[in-house]
């Protein structure tokens, strides 16, 4: 039974790369879906695929405990897929306000710090639960 937080990833040569967990400039948090027990993972995959996402897609789960350990906040925000049911379970993993403030003072972009310090950890924690592997 899935209990964590989900993200849609591209499976390349049977592997999920850390690049799947990077922030792009302007992002304030990593876009995710909270597991609700009512929305099937296939529905999430279909919603993202119907938005135009290409490639061999899968879903990874990351435990809530991993986010706590990394001091990330999970904030519920509206999703952007064509499926309102899926959008209702959308969330973002954000840095705490004090970390954002510290980075701003130092002149470090949030996405740069996130990608260097958080992305590798999330990639290690991610477990493939739904995919198109043979």
């Amino acid at each position: 039974m899935t209990q964590g937080v989900l993200r849609v990833v591209v499976i390349r040569r049977g592997k999920v790369k850390p690049t799947e967990f990077r922030l792009r400039p302007g992002d304030v948090g990593l876009s995710l879906f909270k597991y609700s027990g009512t929305v099937a993972s296939e529905l999430i995959l279909d919603a993202v695929r119907s938005a135009g996402k290409q490639g061999e897609l899968g879903i990874v789960e990351i435990s809530v405990q991993a986010f706590v350990r990394l001091r990330l906040r999970l904030v519920s925000t509206p999703g952007g897929t064509p499926d309102p049911t899926v959008n209702a379970i959308h969330a973002e993993a954000r840095l705490p306000w004090w970390r954002q403030l510290l980075l701003r003072v130092r002149g470090v972009a949030v996405h740069d710090w996130f990608n260097e310090n958080v992305t590798p950890e999330l990639a290690r924690e991610a477990r493939l639960i739904e995919g198109e592997l043979p």
């Binding site: 993202v48 119907s50 938005a51």
Partner: protein, 82 residues
């Protein structure tokens, strides 16, 4: 030169096609905001290739088109000779 747009802006789409005509090839990033997934990346040589990318996208998806001749290598690239 770079063109970023929401897909419903037809004039921006025309600007992207103009950029491709003048400074091909272009690196195309397709971002899926709040959709729980990473960007898709494409290298397009002409407008037909760009159209093939754009045609399958829904409103809300963001596309960034940049000429490869204008990309800046800020972190240092790796050159390999064989």
């Amino acid at each position: 030169m770079s063109v970023s747009s929401l897909l419903d802006h037809e004039s921006v789409r025309a600007a992207a096609i103009k950029l491709l005509a003048e400074k091909a090839p272009a690196l195309v990033e397709v971002r899926f905001p709040n959709m729980g997934t990473s960007s898709d990346w494409f290298l397009c040589e002409d407008s037909s290739e760009l159209d093939a990318v754009l045609d399958r996208l829904v409103p809300g998806v963001q596309v960034q088109v940049s000429s490869v001749w204008d990309l800046h290598d800020r972190t240092g690239g790796v050159s390999i000779r064989k």
